[in-house]
């Protein structure tokens, strides 16, 4: 791959890295796993980059590759050190600022979202990113109606988790 391509990719990713961090935050529960998934998404983005056409927004394209890596391709590598599962009372993570939410209500909400399954998390992620149902359905490969129905079910599920 030529240097120019590599350079443009690295710059774009650096600028939009927050999207990847958000995916990692949703799908991992400790600092090491976060970094590991971040790395895998970066590799997948880079591998797919030569085929990236400017007609799609770089960020939109990142959502797809990021989520696909998280729910399909990613296999926990040996690099990952199991620190603590989410089921525990709090995160025991290397970087103390991994969980920055001070608000108790928000903390509980994040915790509830972590209990959803991979597909539900993907829907929640796109919803939080303000994507419409058309984009959600296109990213996951389901119909718009089903995306809507599922989203409502997820909301109910979250409510049940929060108020058992």
């Amino acid at each position: 791959m030529n240097k120019e391509l590599e350079h443009s990719f690295v710059e774009l990713l650096e600028k939009h890295q927050n999207i990847v961090h958000k995916v990692c935050r949703l799908y991992t529960n400790n600092y090491d796993a976060h970094n590991d998934l971040f790395q895998e998404i970066t590799i997948q983005l880079w591998k797919a980059y030569p085929k990236f056409r400017g007609d799609a927004k770089f960020s939109t394209w990142m959502y797809r590759v990021g989520l696909n890596t998280a729910i399909t391709l990613y296999r926990k590598s040996k690099r990952t050190i199991k620190t603590q599962d989410f089921e525990g009372v709090s995160f025991k993570i290397k970087a103390e600022d991994y969980d920055d939410t001070k608000d108790v209500q928000l903390k509980t909400l994040y915790k509830a979202v972590h209990q959803l399954n991979d597909i539900e998390k993907a829907l929640v992620f796109l919803y939080l990113e303000d994507k419409d149902y058309r984009e959600i359905s296109e990213t996951l490969g389901i119909s718009e109606v089903n995306a809507r129905v599922k989203m409502n079910r997820i909301k109910t599920k979250l409510r049940t988790i929060l108020n058992p």
């Binding site: 895998e40 590799i43 394209w61 399909t72 391709l73 089903n146």
Partner: protein, 211 residues
């Protein structure tokens, strides 16, 4: 306002400097190895191809007795050449199918399609293994048949067996075949089950949405 909307408000406020990676970090990451399941699946399929090719050819080249026996059994050169050509053609077809299947796996497809392409690739490997198992079974049977009919020592043993002995012998042969297949089947369940557990679960979840 529902729960997700509360979350949404905070979601976009996430500090961007948290865990921030530098341009230098990204450069380093680009040259690290991927640990994706597609890559693992690719290595497994290569190993699979090589394994069965070796299993099928090594005895022929290393054991003179095997070669001599094979030559004796296949007295007809045309049949032997035919079988050889056929088995290599099958291997080539599988290599082509696998190559095409890997090419069709694209991380930029939608999630469902991506999962389907991976599962299709896995299916091709499964068929290749199945083909080899069936061929192994058939060769075993043919080998047994020829041995029992042409090998004087085997014929002597069979002649000395009474009716019960033959039943026992057959039962024994069937038992071993079943155990052999079971072990290989379990082995594959373990490899692929372990590798594709998460993918299968997520694929089922997506399929469930269609009902």
């Amino acid at each position: 306002m529902d729960e997700l909307d509360i979350l949404k408000k905070d979601w976009n406020k996430q500090p961007s400097d948290q865990n921030k990676v530098s341009i230098k970090d990204i450069y380093t990451m680009l040259h690290k190895k991927s640990s994706s399941i597609v890559k693992t699946l690719f290595y497994i399929s290569i190993a699979e191809l090589l394994f069965w090719i070796l299993i099928n050819t090594i005895p022929y080249f290393t054991s003179d007795t095997f070669k001599a026996q094979l030559d004796a059994v296949y007295t007809n050169d045309y049949i032997f050449t035919g079988i050889t050509v056929f088995s290599y053609a099958v291997i080539l077809i599988f290599i082509y199918l696998l190559y095409k299947s890997y090419k069709s796996i694209s991380v930029t497809d939608n999630s469902k399609k991506l999962m389907e392409s991976i599962l299709k690739t896995r299916k091709i490997i499964k068929y290749y293994v199945l083909y080899n198992l069936i061929m192994a079974g058939i060769s075993l049977l043919i080998g047994l048949y020829f041995a029992l009919h042409h090998d004087p020592e085997a014929v002597k043993i069979i002649d000395n067996l009474d009716k019960n002995g033959i039943v026992l012998f057959t039962a024994f042969a069937i038992f071993f075949t079943i155990v052999f297949i079971l072990v290989i089947w379990l082995f594959y369940r373990l490899i692929y089950g372990f590798l594709l557990k998460r993918l299968n679960r997520n694929y089922k979840e997506l399929k469930k949405l269609e009902i």
